[in-house]
Symmetry: C2
Subunit: 188 residues, 2 copies
Amino acid sequence: MGVNDKLVETTVSTEPVFSGKVISLQIDMVKLPDGTTATREIVKHPGAVAVLAVHEGRLLLVDQFRQAMGRCELEIPAGKLEKGEDPAEAAVRELQEETGYRCDKLTHLHSFYTSPGFADEIIHLYLAEQLSAGEMSPDEDEFLEVQEVTLEEALNLIAEGRIADAKTILAVYIWQLWTVRGSAGAGV
Amino acid sequence: MGVNDKLVETTVSTEPVFSGKVISLQIDMVKLPDGTTATREIVKHPGAVAVLAVHEGRLLLVDQFRQAMGRCELEIPAGKLEKGEDPAEAAVRELQEETGYRCDKLTHLHSFYTSPGFADEIIHLYLAEQLSAGEMSPDEDEFLEVQEVTLEEALNLIAEGRIADAKTILAVYIWQLWTVRGSAGAGV
């Protein structure tokens, strides 16, 4: 099941539209498999990391206002990659900044695109283990509160919509799958 | 665990930057909890649906070129909401257009934000059951191929990166969890 050549589109031109602090936007013209053309609106993003961290049976979550949602949401610790930053180092950094916790063991779980229809954002998801508590140090325009929840509480928060983003729901399902199987951290 | 008033940001102003076929972009100025201001780059999206459909033990996937990724990727059937469209109707429509399958039973599983840091895209994920095969009818600028894979194949496709987006990885984990538990479609 390799790449499917019959479906490939080729870029004819790229028009930059906007370049901001976090994202940029461009309109690509592409040549379709039948030879006709179409436009694609593409958001460019630096990429991000997210961290599945369970301390004494409780998942670390961060409560944060999300302007795009118009409300607060509980998410696993996460943040953008800094320029040239190694994703594993970014995961350790974001976990410490947002929750105060340091970790001595880090395992890569998945790297996934969040919105492949219009954005190139990729999130590198890590499992952080061997955690020790410490001081938070969020960015200056970041206002956060940490919550630590059991698996049952996390599932209820999903049902209530207080957890409502793809990466966090995915992380809770991964944790639940390990729990159901009786293995901790293995087999993913 | 209700809304956390201490973290709320309020919108001071909104500057439209771009309005396209699929997405639009605006820059919001927000007042932070400490009274200072910050800008937020926000992509507006009409919302989308995605469908977890298993036919005779095999997950329905769609192979499609993704310009944002620069390559083809296998995803569960999905697509944007049309203006004013009911998400459940959109799920039935997208499943039929992209795979040819019709379904007689549809269950809402989750609605989640894909990129709450910069986009308001929400995906409504449904389980489609009681499937019957038929003819595909993709949009005119959409070139697709359907694949039907076992759970083991789906997990291998994730490991290989041929499945590489959040909604599809989440759907595979949900399916795996049901399989491990021995229940089909229940308990989510």
